[in-house]
Amino acid sequence: MSRKYLAAPYLLWALAFVLIPLGMIVYYGLTDSNGAVTLSNILAISSPEHRKALYLAIGLSLISTVLCLLMGYPLAMILASTGMGKGAFVVLVFILPMWMNFLLRTMAWQTLLEKNGVINNLLGVLGLPPISIINTGGAIILGMIYNFLPFMVLPIHTSLSKIDVNVVNAARDLGANGFQVFFRVILPLSIPGVISGITMVFIPALTTFVISNLLGGSKILLIGNVIEQEFTQTGNWNLGSGLSMVLMIFILVSMITTFITDKEEA
């Protein structure tokens, strides 16, 4: 009985900082500035500029997620196969940047990529033409990958480390070569890690506005930037809430689809 009350602080927290704000978003999203119920804030997603921002955000975060997966999976495999001592060191190297402030790390990239930034200065010294990455979709993808790659690597690493080495040995014993062992045993068994990796990269990438603000300048607006501007600059909380709800529903639907397809495959 009394153990129930141990959850009280968390419940209070969840109520104050999750449920009530969520309720407020829903309230603002479904009303206009006079408090009358309307769907216009939600339907506003169909306006060309909002649609463009949403598609761009989806496009860039999808590309980032795929690239994170392609880079992160081999990396996780190397981590899982190196000996305990070495593996722990490499994991540390990967986690280390995560101990630094997210904003600071992204601003560092700004300095690196600027027209007169570190990279272009270096290229100049070498007699090479400068490159312009800053304020492009490419710079945003770079920032997303840099910031979110560890979130892809760690869950995959965890699921790979859980695979019983004898299961891999059994596959080899039954005649499977390296490729067959990977595609028939290791990859299917690591799917849970891949899914949580995708979730942990795709969602923050889709909703980010900091990375696009810093590395995309004001030229590239993602759906996150549009929502941020509605709250902080235009002061139209109703529209901002409505667009947030659309984004939430999109994420919810895509996650549910992912989990269902995964279950059907298994």
């Binding site: 299961v167 596959a171 039954l174």
Partner: protein, 356 residues
């Protein structure tokens, strides 16, 4: 019978620890051979070297006349049953059994027939669509065996396959394995630390300790005529008593002379004498060789286990007759049941000598 596998001068160390030292062993076709020993004796390493999962530092593995020392596990004509089953958790039972056959691109109908045949063979007909985690430990182990044998290996390697099962199931599975072995007519190499399991199932037992082979022989040889104190002690309970070989067929134990059947030890030579607890006969005072007194008794089900203090030695005795604590008894031993062993001068020497 011809040699199927020949291990020649195999040595292996892990991190400066010598696990196998110049091991020589051959396995004959259609033999049930058991590698038996305490943990760390090198038995599993030997099996892994045969399976190809461990490469020896020195020596050769000859299979059917060909050197396969450097051949990868997936290219070897043998299959392994692992200790913890190692079924593929993401595949159902049929897919698990079909794994090796699909890799070899066998026709669909052939695979289907093989699955049916294998499930029948291990008495799990109708379990094909289940997932491994829906099966008990014993059932999973039988599937692991089925998954290995559908590939028709010449040799089946079994790494303590019954280790994780409870006693009753283990005994059932022992009979099951003997039956399978006889039906399939293939060579089994079995690793265990359970001496009873080894005695029950094997044609040949290889007793190992600290990387050396201690004795190779039939279960009867190993049990009745252990070559040294380690084997005698490891295989079942035994009384190991220092003695002196007076001359052929006469040994002195604890100041009393016993007739025995061993010869060739010389005269007045110190030896170790092994007497199994069930071979110590308790008789009424005055009719035996040594007199003593029962100091302990436990009921073990099949028999009573007693400790008898006689001539300054605590004898372990197993008998279906009960003698209460304090009973005066005489000890009598049949000459055939006295096993004489050379005394080792040092533990190392004992191991090395027997390895040759």
């Amino acid at each position: 019978m011809t040699k199927l596998i020949d291990l020649v001068n195999i040595s292996k160390s892990f991190d400066d620890t010598l696990v196998l030292d110049d091991l020589n062993l051959y396995i004959r076709e259609n033999e049930f051979l058991t590698l038996l020993g305490p943990s760390g004796c090198g038995k599993t390493t030997t099996l892994r070297i045969i399976g190809g999962f461990t490469t020896p530092d020195q020596g050769k593995v000859i299979f059917d006349g060909k050197d396969i020392t450097g051949v990868a596990p997936n290219k070897r004509p043998l299959n392994t049953v692992f200790q913890k089953y190692a079924l593929f958790p993401h595949m159902n039972i049929e897919e698990n059994i079909a794994f090796g056959l699909k890799i070899k691109n066998k026709p669909k109908q052939y695979i289907k027939d093989k699955i049916q045949y294998a499930l029948k063979l291990v008495n799990l007909d109708g379990y094909g669509k289940r997932m491994p985690d829906q099966l008990s430990g014993g059932q999973q182990q039988r599937i692991a065996i089925a998954r290995a044998i559908v590939n028709e290996p010449k040799v089946l390697l079994l790494d303590e396959p019954l280790g994780a099962l409870d006693l009753k199931l283990r005994q059932d599975m022992q009979y099951e394995l003997i039956r399978l072995k006889n039906e399939l007519g293939i060579t089994f190499i079995y690793v265990t630390h359970d001496q009873e399991e080894a005695l029950t199932m094997s044609d040949t037992i290889v007793v190992m300790n600290q990387g050396y082979i201690q004795q190779i022989g039939t279960p009867e040889d190993i049990y009745n005529e252990p070559e040294n104190a380690f084997v005698a002690d490891f295989i079942g309970d035994s009384n190991i008593i220092p003695g002196i070989m007076i001359k052929d067929e006469l040994v002195e134990i604890l100041g009393h002379r016993f007739a025995c059947v061993d010869t060739g030890f010389g005269t007045n030579k110190p030896v170790d004498v092994v007497i199994r607890p069930e071979d110590v006969e308790l008789v009424t005072p005055g009719t035996g060789t040594i007199s003593g007194k029962v100091s302990h008794i436990i009921f073990k089900g099949v028999h009573y286990e007693m400790e008898v203090m006689a001539a300054g030695f605590e004898w372990l005795v197993q008998s279906t007759k009960m003698f209460p604590v304090g009973t005066e008894v005489d000890i009598k031993i049949d000459p055939f049941n006295i096993q004489i062993m050379n005394k080792p001068e040092s533990e190392d020497e004992e191991a090395v000598k027997l390895d040759e």
